[in-house]
Symmetry: C2
């Protein structure tokens, strides 16, 4: 045990999560390309790759540079704006033997990619309403990108609207319909999509058709959001923040993990700023940078005792730490932390 708060990783629970998703992808004949932004750790990626992942997804060129050490097939699932510096970095990655795919949702952005050693996937909006073109517009964009000399491999989307209670299945259906329409749109322009890529953790179990590739991220660890969405059970969460009870002020538990350890994420439907492992009725009612204020049913845990807290959003909690501590005491580093560009 070290000074609190720290990130604790249960490697057995993680392995079970990784195996289950790999089995799901195999059963439905999909390529599994997990999003590495969740764990930011080549050590974790190697477990995923050993279990059957066929490539990795990343969010930034900086993450691609980190994961190139363990994987030669990377998809930067982001509508990159590529300037001169970014071009040089993409070229270096390619020269190092990495096959690179990047996202694109406009011809303007695509012009920056022309001549670079990357393949392109057209991003479509399947209902999350973030980046991406309408599915019906995918073919026209793909044709324009091909006209720039780019290789258009197919289409991708992120069904982020699955992050609402009870929405996983509906989002997966919308995703499948949107991907099918986008694929048809490409075919209208004579482009056969080799890759039809989707997936998020809450929708992944319902993604069983249309998509040829699945890109979930959070499933590797789980978090309080996934528990509250009903995607997983609390005992399937592999990542917790170990924290010490420092005060009983106001008859509540105050512990030393705040938004600088758990991150400040709180969806409108969340019960609080995270959960307490093994205490389903405890509620994290307030979060400062170094304090969690927990409404606690029954007798309070003693001052100095430790609690395991589930972050609401694993990806952002991981991005605050430099390493995972395993139950063996071993530390796994998080070298992609902070690689935002």
């Amino acid at each position: 045990m070290g000074a609190t708060p720290y990130l604790s990783l249960d490697a057995e629970v993680m392995q079970a999560n990784i195996d289950a998703m790999a089995e799901h992808a195999r059963r439905y004949g999909m390529v599994l390309r997990p999003h590495a932004k969740t764990h930011k750790s080549p050590a974790v990626a190697e477990v995923q790759l050993t279990a059957g992942a066929q490539g990795l997804t990343v969010a930034t060129i900086g993450e691609a540079e980190v994961f190139a050490s363990v994987c030669r097939d990377l998809f930067i699932a982001y509508p990159l704006w590529v300037d001169g510096d970014a071009s040089a970095r993409l070229t270096s990655l390619s020269e190092a033997g990495v096959r690179l795919r990047v996202g694109c949702d406009s011809e303007t952005s695509g012009r920056n990619l022309a001549g670079l050693p990357v393949e392109v996937l057209v991003e479509i909006d399947s209902g999350h309403h973030r980046s991406g073109v309408a599915p019906e517009s995918a073919g026209a964009l793909a044709q324009n990108l091909a006209g720039l000399g780019l290789t258009v491999l197919g289409v991708f989307t992120f069904p982020g609207h699955s992050y609402s209670p009870g929405s996983g299945e509906a989002a997966a259906l919308e995703e499948a319909e949107a991907l099918a329409r986008a694929a048809a749109s490409l075919r209208e322009f004579g482009i056969e999509p080799a890759v039809i890529s989707g997936g998020s953790t809450p929708s992944a179990s319902f993604s069983t058709s249309v998509a040829t590739e699945l890109r979930p991220g959070v499933y590797v660890f789980g978090d309080a959001q996934q528990v509250e969405l009903g995607t997983i059970q609390p005992e399937q969460v592999a990542l917790t923040v170990v924290s010490t009870v420092v005060s009983h002020a106001g008859g509540r538990v105050i512990c030393d993990a705040g938004s600088k350890a758990l991150a400040a994420d709180r969806a409108p439907w969340a019960s609080g700023y995270g959960r307490v492992f093994g205490e389903p009725d405890a509620r994290i009612v307030a979060l400062s940078e170094h304090h969690a204020t927990i409404s606690w049913p029954g007798e309070l845990p003693a001052l100095g005792s430790t609690l395991r807290l589930l972050p609401n959003h694993a990806c952002n909690a991981v991005n605050l730490a430099d390493s995972y501590r395993l139950s063996t005491g071993e530390l796994w580093s998080i070298p992609a932390r902070g690689r935002n560009n």
Copy 2:
């Protein structure tokens, strides 16, 4: 300019913020002991100390270890639970010549401090309802701590309930009343409080009596919360996240700074997930890890153009970065980033 997103620091605006707070403290005869958790940077602390700060406040022993390089008078304003490892670290700091003060809100926690080279301030709750005892109980706790052989210097509080629109003055009044009651409580037990410490950025300008010491943090940079609270004007914000427009999907601006650059903080009263510098009517309506979705009035800025975004909460945005970029191109490192324990 570097790859986006990155943290940009306007050193002139910061200097003006630092000078104004130092002048306020001088005018009312208060010691200024800024909270370094906001900037996590010895370089910034040196500017504060040169302008008249007489010591620094930190949140963790790890932060104290970083700031010992520039300041020999540190207050860990936190109800520390000190185990063996923490004892050794506090002792090392003291042996290196640092005068250490720590917070305490229970006799149980105080027992761990007995025999250590630290002075103690009793934490009281002035209305924020986080850690701290009731003001009336401060004297009894101080007596018990003194009975353990500890030197009780005085009392402190954080008026965090100032973080609500229009609450700065009311919170400062409550703070002053609570500090006065706590000081009286100590005197009832024959302990004269040498230090009566309070202050937060939204309440600081109203803190003009009772407190002998002021500990604001965010004032050094400002952020979207302070603008929306009315504490400062937008042009007084020294810290922005420079971000590139990557998509116009859905007729909105999507740029490459998300919750991994801005942090996910959003108070219930906030207009969005931050603000856009120079665009008062733009609203950051959604935030993913690497996307800000901005509702934009009028013509959208071109793909590839850069925006300066104001984080809602400077402290958490800083804790995501490894350095500040100044307008000169110079980088200032953030060595206390991630020093949560």
